[in-house]
């Protein structure tokens, strides 16, 4: 009897999951259809519903970016292209459209430091895997050196190399996550946004930020965020005018 109950519960779970996925696919198709018919606002609404459900994918965010682009909202278009690229670094369509949107909006980009530029050939996740692999290889080599009768030079060299790679990969993960394009990267989505010297609309302006400009958020105080600006200065920006790239 118990086994029957378990089987029934499993089947119910499977059916509900399947129907949920089917619903998401249906919503996605509907949003695509709205986009194709030129109903960009409806398409944006449909894509945003999918994003809100947590079923993120690079293609979904790319499509949302396209819909925003069509409405002339370059700030949100750039934000969603950036999000698509955050999920899939090598998304060619998102890369191409991001460049077009930036050109249209005259958006400012953060300037990367030289270590970030050199570390860019892999992303944070790839460095994490490299660090894990190198760590375990190094540890196995050390264990072998400890328990082995003979200490071969090759094992010693491999252990040193592995731990060196582990250290470099760990630093790379940290550098990329905390760099100008890391987790604190945000996009200016508001219009006529000015970075200011203080948390007041009347404070002196540091830099005018066109929509789609990149900033790196350092801290938040009330309705303002303190951010590193594309010209490497720092300023206060209204919270409602920026959105983090990484959800």
């Amino acid at each position: 009897m118990k086994n029957y109950a378990r089987l029934l519960a499993f089947l119910l779970c499977a059916v509900s999951t399947s129907s949920a996925f089917a619903q998401l696919d249906s919503d996605f198709a509907k949003a695509n259809q709205d986009y194709a018919q030129g109903n960009f606002k409806e398409a944006i609404s449909g894509y945003k519903t999918l994003v809100g459900s947590g079923q993120w994918s690079a293609n979904l965010l790319y499509d949302l970016g396209n819909a925003y682009f069509r409405t002339g909202d370059f700030g949100h278009a750039i934000l969603n292209y950036e999000r698509a690229l955050a999920l899939e670094r090598h998304h060619p369509e998102a890369t191409a459209n991001l460049q077009i949107a930036r050109d249209e909006a005259r958006a400012l980009e953060m300037q990367q430091s030289w270590p970030e530029r050199y570390l860019q050939f892999a992303n944070s996740n790839q460095y994490s895997i490299a660090a894990a692999v190198a760590f375990w290889v190094g540890v196995f080599c050390i264990v072998r050196l400890i328990f082995g009768r003979r200490r071969s030079a090759a094992t010693i060299a491999l252990s040193i190399l592995s731990l060196f790679i582990f250290a470099i990969a760990t630093l790379a993960v940290y550098g990329l996550d905390h760099g100008s394009k890391g987790r604190a990267l945000a996009i200016v989505t508001g219009q006529d946004v000015q970075a200011r010297l203080a948390t007041a609309d009347t404070a002196n302006s540091v830099l005018a930020l066109p929509p789609g400009s990149e900033v790196k958020i350092l801290s938040t105080r009330g309705d303002w965020v303190y951010a590193v600006l594309p010209n490497k200065l720092r300023g206060w920006i209204p919270v409602k005018s920026t959105e983090l790239v990484r959800l």
């Binding site: 994918s57 499509d63 396209n66 005259r106 980009e109 994490s128 264990v143 830099l207 005018a208 594309p230």
Partner: protein, 609 residues
């Protein structure tokens, strides 16, 4: 302590070095004066420790003396700024308009120049009654207890021109005045800056002593025409003598045009009666002011700035890619209406994208008519460029009565990527026929369109979280961890096994040595001797083959040591002899083994290697 102090100084010097390049400004305490009225000239050098100011400034009609040096340090956000101010006292000897020429200051091997300043000197009041018409409230009548004075040294100005104004309020010290309302300049057709109290001193005027409070401000006419400035109105509480019991010929409240109420016996006898505080209004006389309109031929980028300004420009970074931002910092210094000083414009915006500029103002005086406004404009090259565009700033110089346009020097930059800007078009002189290539219409570049929608959605939800923050990542780490534990356990077990084997081998070696020692002795019986000899052979073979000695037989031992026919036969006899003596139960004759037999056995065994 000395080391710490030294480190702090070095840190400050280091920060200062990186904070900003040296700069110099010059400012007059008042650009309008009368003959004999001292004016102060301040030359301020910022960002340099040592500077060589001019020792003598000689201008005909002005007597200029250096009066001292002051030094200021300011630390803000760990950035130290130091400035040195060189003070000069200027005594006008005659009336007229004097230009204080630009002074060269040597700062660390570099020559910096101060802006040119203008000082308008009018005749002193004693010489001409028209020179200071605004001072007619001055207490020529010795009976005045308070007075207000509006000093507008310049009676003619242009629309929008900033004219510094001084207000002086004088009080008889015996009135113990308390100012209730700050003085206010009434009138229409001009705007006034915020009033700043600039000094308080005691003066003797016409034989009477006054406490004089001086305020500074500046006005700017909003329209052309003749109108009056003032009067200045202020309210104060003063101590007046109590009304006398006997009728008097005047009212004690009429403070300005009647006799001195302090002639009352109260003031001669402070213990006699107590005075009373009264609120009074102090008024000055208005001043006539003539405002001229600006000339019509204003440059296109004239934003209403009137005064005397200088401009410097810098750009960073100087090596960029096409599309990268370059921050152009433009500094406009001088004296004038800085609220109308806008960012310089770009003369040729072709190939550049300009973003809205930001600005900040640092004033050098109390009123804000002298200072430095710094603009930061972000420019982005759309194509390959070799120099920054020329920035132009126009203002109206009221002294020269003409418009002046300041242009930035060309700043060389290196822009990588994109096509080189058509420099040829820029150098074609006006009026010359345009080259054929230029005459051809430039095709309008169609704006790029974005790529298509993607209709396939990944069935697996992706995550923005870093891999190392996911549970799966750490769960996967359990696999190598368990493998490591297994590997380490296996290695430990192997080590223990190896240790046991080593002990066994050591025991066998020890046994072989002991047996060989016994075989060399002559006291053993044949039974013992041959048994020990065969045991030695088995142990040696077991050591060579890493097997149990009990499993070694004749053939195994012979094969182990590779014995030939004769040796194999001798070994066989040794084994047979041993077995026979061991199992037959007889001793076969003598109790002792012969030396020949022992030698033969020893020789055989010692050759087993």
């Amino acid at each position: 302590m000395a080391v710490l102090l030294g480190a702090l100084i070095a840190f400050a010097e280091d920060n200062r070095a990186f904070a900003e390049p040296p700069s110099v400004t010059a400012v007059l305490s008042n650009s309008e004066a009368v003959v004999g009225q001292m004016v102060e000239l301040q030359i301020k050098v910022t960002g340099a420790g040592n500077a060589q100011p001019p020792e003598h400034i000689s201008i005909d009609g002005l007597e200029i003396h250096a009066t001292g040096t002051s030094r200021q340090f300011e630390m803000r956000n760990f950035t130290t700024t130091s400035s040195v101010t060189y003070n000069y006292a200027i005594l006008p000897l005659k009336a007229g308009q004097f230009a204080i020429p630009s002074q060269t200051i040597l700062v660390g091997g570099k020559s910096l120049r101060t802006p040119e300043l203008t000082l308008n000197v009018a005749d002193s009041p004693g010489r001409s009654s028209a020179s200071r018409p605004a001072q007619n409230a001055r207490p020529g009548n010795a009976s005045k207890l308070v007075f207000a004075e509006l000093i507008v040294p310049k009676k003619t100005a242009f629309v929008g021109e900033i004219v510094p104004v001084q207000i002086r309020l004088g009080f008889d010290p015996r009135t113990h005045p308390r100012l209730i309302d700050l003085p206010e300049i009434t009138g229409q057709g001009f705007t006034a800056h915020k009033l700043q109290q600039s000094g308080e001193n005691r003066e003797t005027i016409s034989g009477r002593t006054y406490d004089v409070v001086t305020f500074k401000t500046a006005i700017a006419a909003a329209r052309a025409g003749n109108f009056e400035i003032g009067p200045v109105k202020a309210k104060a509480q003063v101590l007046t003598p109590r009304r006398p019991s006997s009728p008097r010929s005047r009212s004690p409240f009429d403070l300005f045009n009647l006799d001195d109420p302090f002639s009352d016996p109260f003031f001669s006898d402070p213990f006699g009666e107590v005075g009373e505080r009264r609120e009074i209004e102090i008024n000055s006389e208005p001043v006539a002011f003539d405002v001229k309109p600006l000339p019509q031929n204003a440059p296109a980028n004239f934003s209403g700035a009137i005064g005397n300004f200088t401009m410097t420009t810098d750009a960073k970074p100087k090596s960029v890619q096409v599309g990268d931002p370059i921050t152009v910092t433009t500094t406009i210094s001088g004296r004038g209406n800085f609220d109308r000083v806008n960012a310089p414009g770009i003369e040729d915006e072709h190939g550049w994208h300009k973003y809205p500029p930001s600005s900040k103002f640092k004033q050098d005086d109390d009123v804000g008519i002298s200072g430095t406004r710094t603009f930061e404009t972000v420019l982005s090259p759309n194509e390959k460029k070799q120099s920054m565009p020329v920035m132009a700033f126009s203002y109206f110089d009221p002294v020269k009565e003409q418009y002046v346009t300041l242009r930035s020097d060309p700043i060389a930059i290196n822009v990588q990527g994109g096509a080189l800007a058509d420099a040829g078009a820029a150098v074609v002189p006006p009026g010359s026929p345009p080259p054929a290539a230029v005459a051809a219409p430039t095709p309008v570049q169609k704006p790029q369109d974005i790529l298509y929608q993607l209709t396939e959605r990944s069935t697996v939800a992706q995550s923005f979280g870093p891999l190392y923050a996911r549970r799966l990542f750490w769960t996967v780490q359990l696999v190598p961890l368990l493998a490591l534990i297994g590997f380490a356990g296996w290695k430990i077990r192997q080590a223990r096994i190896n240790n046991r084997e080593a002990r066994r081998i050591a025991a066998l070696q020890h046994e072989a040595v002991e047996l060989m020692r016994k075989l060399h002795r002559s006291d053993a019986s044949p039974r013992e001797y041959y048994a020990e000899a065969s045991r030695v052979v088995r142990v040696k073979a077991a050591l060579a083959r890493n097997v149990d000695p009990n499993t070694v037989d004749l053939e195994t031992a012979a094969d182990t040591f590779g014995l030939n026919g004769d040796s194999r036969e001798r070994l066989r006899r040794l084994f047979e002899q041993s077995d026979e003596l061991q199992y037959s139960g007889t001793h076969n004759g003598s109790e002792k083994i012969s030396p020949e037999s022992r030698r033969d056995v020893l020789e055989l065994i010692e050759h087993l290697k």
